[in-house]
């Protein structure tokens, strides 16, 4: 059995007096598309944020390959997010001041890549995600579906090994949502990326290879990689 790409062991996280995770365990295999489901407030987003190195757990261990995520410095975790992870969140989290092309280029520019190289990579992705012609528009001038596709392009541009998607279709109608999911999952598979997908919608979870459910801060059934 191959070693999981991401592992969570007995992870606990509270916000003030409110516990969000109470000993969650999870393994995610390389190249897998995993859907994390659960009701509102169950802790699924917190689990994703911990696995992505955004939040530090109060207890437990988080592993990315052979590295303890929860013991990495802020700088190392930033570098990991920039070079190896990609993110698609519910509201896109685009930089409103930057046009579409530069939003997509952002992770590469932050990583010190040459502007021309970044622009070429962004252009290729925008073309592939049906966003050609929108390069100069600002996020405020896009529809919800277009903004989410830009977020997908930004998540993919650095050819990440893991894409974290937190309710990526939460703000979209079903047609736009399907389009975003098709593009996200197809592109990720094409690049061989792992996708960790948090959703409460069954039709979105259906894109995944496997589903787990989070309830009361615990992963209900610990599934092993196939």
């Amino acid at each position: 059995m191959t070693m999981p790409l991401l592992r969570a062991r007995a992870v606990a996280k509270s916000f003030g007096a409110t516990p969000a995770l109470r000993g969650a365990d999870l393994d995610v295999a390389a190249g897998e598309v995993l859907a994390v489901m659960g009701p509102s407030g169950s802790g699924k987003s917190t689990l994703l944020h911990c696995l992505a190195g955004i939040l530090r757990p109060d207890q437990g261990e988080m592993w990315y390959e052979d590295r303890r995520l929860d013991q990495l410095s802020e700088r190392e975790r930033s570098q990991l997010r920039r070079d190896e992870f990609g993110f698609v969140f519910q509201f896109g989290q685009l930089v409103p001041e930057l046009p579409v092309a530069e939003n997509v280029m952002l992770p590469l520019l932050l990583g010190g890549r040459h502007r021309r190289e970044a622009r070429a990579a962004a252009a290729a992705l925008l073309d592939r995600l049906d966003l050609a012609g929108l390069e100069r528009r600002r996020p405020g001038e896009l529809s919800g579906g277009q903004a989410q596709r830009v977020a997908v392009a930004r998540a993919l541009v650095g050819r990440p090994r893991v894409i974290f998607a937190d309710e990526p279709t939460g703000s979209l109608d079903s047609l736009s949502g399907e389009k975003v999911m098709d593009l996200l999952v197809d592109s990720a598979r094409e690049q061989g990326a792992t996708v960790l997908l948090v959703t409460h919608e069954a039709r979105v979870a259906a894109y995944a290879d496997r589903e787990v459910v989070v309830r009361d801060g615990r992963v209900a059934a610990l599934a092993t990689t196939p």
């Binding site: 955004i54 930033s78 993110f87 685009l94 930089v95 520019l109 932050l110």
Partner: protein, 732 residues
């Protein structure tokens, strides 16, 4: 990375440009004020340097010419007046072809020739000759250039004489060079402290304004930085982006400020700080001040951006999960108490020590006090919040109370500029009042403003004979508008020596009554007066003169002419006296000029104090408006939700007003009280008599606070309407 930050600064479309422009304008305003403050002392020094030649003597401190290569020059400089303005009368007679040339002249006027400054020449053409031009008989053959003029409107005249005409006259110097070293304005220790306080009163609100203006877009920027953190920007990169973005806005503001200063300089030159306007070129900005302000404003803005970033936790998930700000504890009062105690304990020692060093130490102690106020401010604001919450019966005040209690630091930040301005300006105003209020000497009587006086003798000089005086009296009485003449006669056989305890002169009561001074029962009676304070516009009675004194037969000491108060009458009288007695040491003066001179310093301090107070309140008001607007943008969501929940816009405005006015009024009053206490203590230790501030202080302070609050509300009301419109709120 820097390029990306530049892109972010300019890339936000219209909204971003507006934010950038508002920040830049705020910084520009601050920079203009700093630049104007920076040229005040150079401008005052320029005035002193331009007046240096007036102090020419046989022993010049810094001769403008090599005295071994010049011939002597007979020079007498006296001060005449016209309509309350000084007229410098320089009489010259060269004793050789290489006599030194005073500044502003291309050649010395010869006998019967006159060189006048442009303003004086213009005036001489405009008014009848018997009111001014007749005092300087001769042909105008030259113009006195700017180099000899303190200000563009200075009235200066050079009158040429033969050596024989000048030699032996009182106060004529034989000089071989012209003095070029300006004499410093003698400011008392207290005066210097007042100036320093005034400067600080302006500087602090300016710095707060620059900080506030650059924080205007902080909330929006933080959201953007959070998005960047999500895609992998390190905290260092985030700080760099924030600093670059802010510095760009501040740099634009600084450039704008320098440009505005260049435009404002000719207008600022009209400012009458020391009694005369300036040549625009004298408002010279030193290179180090330009560098300091030019680089200091952007650096300060960058530091403000970093400080504002420290207040929030910019995580990849946004800035919403920042920790609740810690409640300020009573320990925040400790620095204020400690700095007050330090100030109180050190002041007597520092005042006794005197000198520059202790003055700076006093300024340091005051700075600590200011820091103490800044540290204690949030705690006091929280107290106001709790009070509001406890006593409020309406929703707006309740919400405002909770907001102030929940985040008192933010509440205080909005008013900190005004609070500092109030503290410093109160100190400056009370100090000014103490420094300038004259202490009246009982028993002295002030001469009427409409009078014209002249004193004809000096130590050891021969007195004008009685006949000359009688002729003068007759001539002056014949001038239309003259209502009386007080003829002062010298009763002793010899002229005064200068060592007398009192300059006792005699006159008839009729003259005193005609001059509107004192009532005597018998107009023919002869009384004695002390003429020593006459030049200060004061006369003091001594008692009846020695029996048998006949003033008409005595030499004349001086005259005091009562007029109808019209300027033309007063100037005609003055000209007539000068022509009749051409060589008095002190040329005739008018009552209003003496009064103005006595109050000149007071007026000057009051003018400076009021200007500083207004400017400080203006700056602080702008800071308040920017700060309230910034706070509103930061709380767009809760305000929009309140609106959605059915709260009326008027109630939302009341929330803003209550949370701004409550702490503002309370903390401002505390600051004013503390400022007064501090300066009263300084006065007590210095041995000065306490005086309440000028009434204008209360008007400007009350009006300024109300205006600041009004401006802040006026600026934020449309913003509140836009941010909480139902259309906007729908998307929150």
């Amino acid at each position: 990375m820097t390029r990306l930050a530049v892109r972010l600064a300019f890339g936000g479309g219209r909204e971003q440009w507006v934010r950038l422009a508002v920040s830049a304008v705020g910084v520009a305003l601050g920079v203009v004020l700093l630049l104007l403050a920076a040229v005040v002392f150079p401008a005052l020094r320029a005035h002193e340097a331009r007046d240096a030649w007036l102090h020419t003597s046989a022993h010049n401190a810094r001769p403008a010419q090599d005295e071994t290569r010049t011939d002597p020059l007979l020079l007498r400089v006296r001060f005449d007046g016209y309509a309350g303005k000084d007229v410098v009368v320089a009489e010259v007679a060269p004793l050789g072809p290489r006599a030194p040339l005073p500044p502003g002249l291309s050649r010395l006027p010869g006998p019967g020739e006159v060189a006048a400054s442009p303003a004086l020449a213009r005036l001489m053409r405009q008014v009848p000759g018997d009111q001014l031009a007749d005092r300087f008989p001769g042909r105008i053959t030259g113009t006195v250039g700017d180099a000899a003029l303190k200000s563009p409107d200075a009235l200066v005249v050079f009158v040429g004489h033969t050596p024989a005409e000048l030699r032996g006259k009182p106060f004529v110097d034989e000089v071989r060079s012209i003095e070029s070293q300006g004499f410093s304005v003698a400011l008392s220790r207290f005066g210097r402290m007042v100036l320093a306080l005034g400067g600080a009163a302006l500087l602090m609100p300016v710095l707060v304004l620059i900080g506030t203006a650059t924080r205007l877009s902080a909330a929006r920027r933080e959201q953007r930085l959070a998005a960047m953190r999500l895609v992998g920007a390190t905290p260092r990169q985030i700080r760099l982006v924030a600093v670059v973005e802010t510095v760009i806005g501040a740099a634009a503001g600084t450039l704008l400020g320098f440009a505005a200063f260049a435009v404002a300089r000719p207008f600022a030159a009209h400012a009458d700080i020391d009694g005369s306007p300036f040549f625009p070129a004298d408002l010279r900005l030193s290179w180090w001040a330009a560098v300091l302000i030019g680089s200091g404003a952007p650096v300060m803005a960058g530091v403000a951006a970093l400080v504002s970033l420290r207040r929030v936790q910019v995580s990849p998930l946004g800035v919403t999960r920042q920790a609740t700000p810690a409640r300020p504890s009573w320990r925040r009062l400790i620095p204020l108490a400690a700095s007050t105690a330090l100030f109180a304990a050190s002041l007597p020692v520092l005042v006794a020590a005197g000198g520059e060093g202790p003055l700076w130490m006093m300024a340091g102690a005051l700075t600590l006090l200011i820091a103490g106020i800044l540290v204690a401010g949030p705690w006091l604001t929280m107290g106001v919040g709790r009070l509001l919450t406890a006593v409020s019966r309406r929703v707006p005040t309740l919400l405002a109370g909770h907001r102030l209690t929940g985040n008192p630091a933010a509440g205080f930040r909005a008013i900190s500029g005004l609070v500092l301005a109030v503290f410093l300006v109160t100190m400056a105003s009370v100090a000014t009042s103490i420094a300038v209020t004259p202490v009246a000497d009982p028993g002295q009587e002030l001469l009427p403003a409409s009078s014209v006086g002249a004193q004809f003798l000096y130590h050891g000089d021969p007195l004008p004979p009685a006949g000359q005086a009688n002729a003068l009296s007759a001539r002056v009485r014949a001038i239309a508008g003259v209502t009386g003449l007080l003829d002062l006669r010298w009763p002793a056989a010899a002229p005064p020596t200068g060592s007398e305890r009192a300059l006792t002169v005699v006159t008839r009561c009729a003259g005193l009554r005609a001059a509107g001074l004192a009532g005597c029962a018998d107009p023919a009676a002869v009384v004695s007066l002390d003429a020593r304070p006459l030049g200060n516009g004061i006369i003091q009675g001594i008692g009846p003169a020695a029996a048998g004194t006949a003033p008409e037969r005595l030499p004349v000491f001086g005259v005091l002419v009562s007029t109808d108060g019209r300027r033309s009458t007063m100037e005609t009288v003055r000209t007539a006296i000068e022509r009749a007695v051409p060589d008095p040491v002190w040329l005739p003066w008018t009552g209003d000029e003496v009064k103005a001179q006595n109050h000149a310093q007071a007026d000057q301090w009051t003018r400076i104090g009021d200007a500083v107070l207004l400017a400080a309140l203006l700056m602080a008001g702008f800071s308040l408006a920017v700060s309230v607007a910034g706070g509103l943008v930061e709380r767009k969501r809760p305000f929009a939700l309140l609106r959605l929940a059915g709260m009326r816009p008027a109630d939302l405005r009341r929330v803003l007003l209550a949370e701004t006015a409550g702490p503002l009024v309370t903390v401002a009053l505390a600051s004013a009280a503390l400022g007064m206490a501090v300066v009263s203590y300084i006065a007590w230790v210095s041995g000065a008599r306490w005086q309440p501030p000028d009434p204008s202080y209360w008007w400007i302070l009350g009006g300024g606070l109300a205006l600041s609050l009004g401006v802040a509300m006026a600026v934020t009301t449309p913003l509140l309407g836009r941010l909480t419109s139902l259309e906007t709120a729908r998307f929150e």
